[in-house]
């Protein structure tokens, strides 16, 4: 069974036409399922876990990066219903702006997303973990005053202004298209960009970030105070991907 999670903002009238198109396309493809609207529920985790327990096979986020971030924890948090969640698939139908995560997975447009969902091309990808929060795409923090400690072996400090990014999954909106970021390698990639020609790139499994002045921003949505312990959970999420994804 497919469970479609609609974000709050899709209630606006400007999205009604696109939603109609998506729903018609899903019906044509025989991909009907249950629709859950985020605005109407208070505890999304319990709702999703319950659907999984009742036999849901695919959870589809309909919305943007924020929608994905709101529900990703519920999809992969398998302490309670681990047995049921083993083979749960996750997918995205991107609607509107701010959809770099869907873009990274090779899902560019809403109607194309329906076809991708039907094709069921599945990849098991890593998930980034910061304290108790998950991130799919990246965590970022200004480099000024930031100290990065890696595996308790060495630390990195930056002299100039810039951004420290910790990538799990590359988005096509990334600042450097030559970055080799792979969400199935069991590693996170630290990328520090200060000037045009000055960049730093290190692959790690675990790190700690400290900055007294700025918070760490997960997937451009959730702010987390530092010090923050960051690690990667290997092969945690089964995602439905498109051909044009940013990794092999």
């Amino acid at each position: 069974m497919n469970i479609y999670i609609y974000d709050d903002y899709l209630n606006k009238s400007k999205y009604s036409r696109v939603l109609n198109r998506v729903e018609i396309r899903l019906t044509d493809l025989g991909l009907n399922g249950k629709i859950i609207r985020l605005g109407a529920i208070k505890n999304i985790r319990d709702v999703i876990q319950n659907e999984i327990k009742n036999g849901a096979k695919t959870i589809i986020a309909v919305g943007n990066n924020q929608t994905v971030n709101k529900i990703i924890g519920s999809v992969i948090d398998n302490e309670m219903y681990g047995f049921f969640q083993k083979n749960i698939l996750f997918s995205i139908i991107p609607i509107g702006a701010d959809n770099s995560i869907a873009d990274s997975l090779g899902i560019k447009k809403e109607e194309e997303a329906c076809n991708i969902l039907l094709a069921r091309r599945v990849k098991k990808i890593d998930i980034g973990l910061v304290n108790n929060y998950y991130f799919l795409n990246k965590a970022t923090i200004p480099s000024q005053g930031t100290t990065v400690e890696i595996n308790n072996e060495y630390s990195i400090e930056t002299v100039e202004k810039g951004i420290v990014s910790i990538y799990n999954l590359k988005s096509s909106a990334s600042d450097d298209k030559n970055l080799k970021i792979n969400p199935i390698d069991g590693k996170l990639d630290i990328y520090i960009k200060n000037k045009d020609k000055d960049s730093t790139f290190i692959s790690v499994k675990k790190l700690k970030i400290t900055n007294k002045n700025y918070p760490l921003l997960l997937d451009n949505i959730i702010e987390i105070k530092t010090p923050a312990d960051i690690s990667v959970i290997t092969g945690k999420l089964n995602v439905v991907v498109g051909k044009d994804r940013s990794f092999e």
């Binding site: 072996e153 630390s155 990195i156 400090e157 002299v159 080799k180 520090i192 730093t200 290190i202």
Partner: protein, 136 residues
């Protein structure tokens, strides 16, 4: 072999790049190719190759397979295969290598030892020994 940045082609796919505005402290161990353009204090070891840019400042003992040195290094260098020392290099410390090339203008203050080309084995014995303070 070298591209316009004076880096060999094999460093195109470097696993780790330390930029010019970055300062690394501690024991840095890698398995892939490493490029250092910034500062490093501690120890540096990689099973692959190392490129040190001409503005890099390193205070560390270094161990690598191949290395191209253009910057400033204070510490010992143990290079299992080929060591290329560029004209801007300033090395203060002992240097172990299997094959070497030194450009005019490079500075080395320390003992230079050639070890046979047989990987990382401890059985290697020096076949050539000299103490050098070289400024060609």
């Amino acid at each position: 072999m070298f591209n316009k940045d004076n880096k060999p082609e094999k460093f195109k796919d470097a696993e780790t790049i330390i930029g010019a505005s970055i300062k690394v402290k501690g024991n840095f161990h890698g398995q892939g190719n490493i490029i250092i353009e910034g500062q490093l204090e501690g120890n540096l070891r990689t099973e692959a190759n190392l490129f040190v840019g001409d503005k890099a400042k390193i205070v560390a003992n270094i161990e690598a397979n191949d290395a191209i040195i253009n910057g400033e290094i204070k510490g010992s260098l143990k290079i299992h295969q080929y060591l290329a020392i560029g004209q801007n290099a300033k090395i203060t410390g002992d240097v172990n290598y299997s094959e070497i090339s030194i450009e005019r203008g490079a500075t080395i203050n320390g003992q230079i030892l050639c070890i046979p080309n047989s990987g990382k084995s401890n059985k290697n014995k020096p076949v050539e020994e000299e103490t050098a303070s070289e400024e060609e």
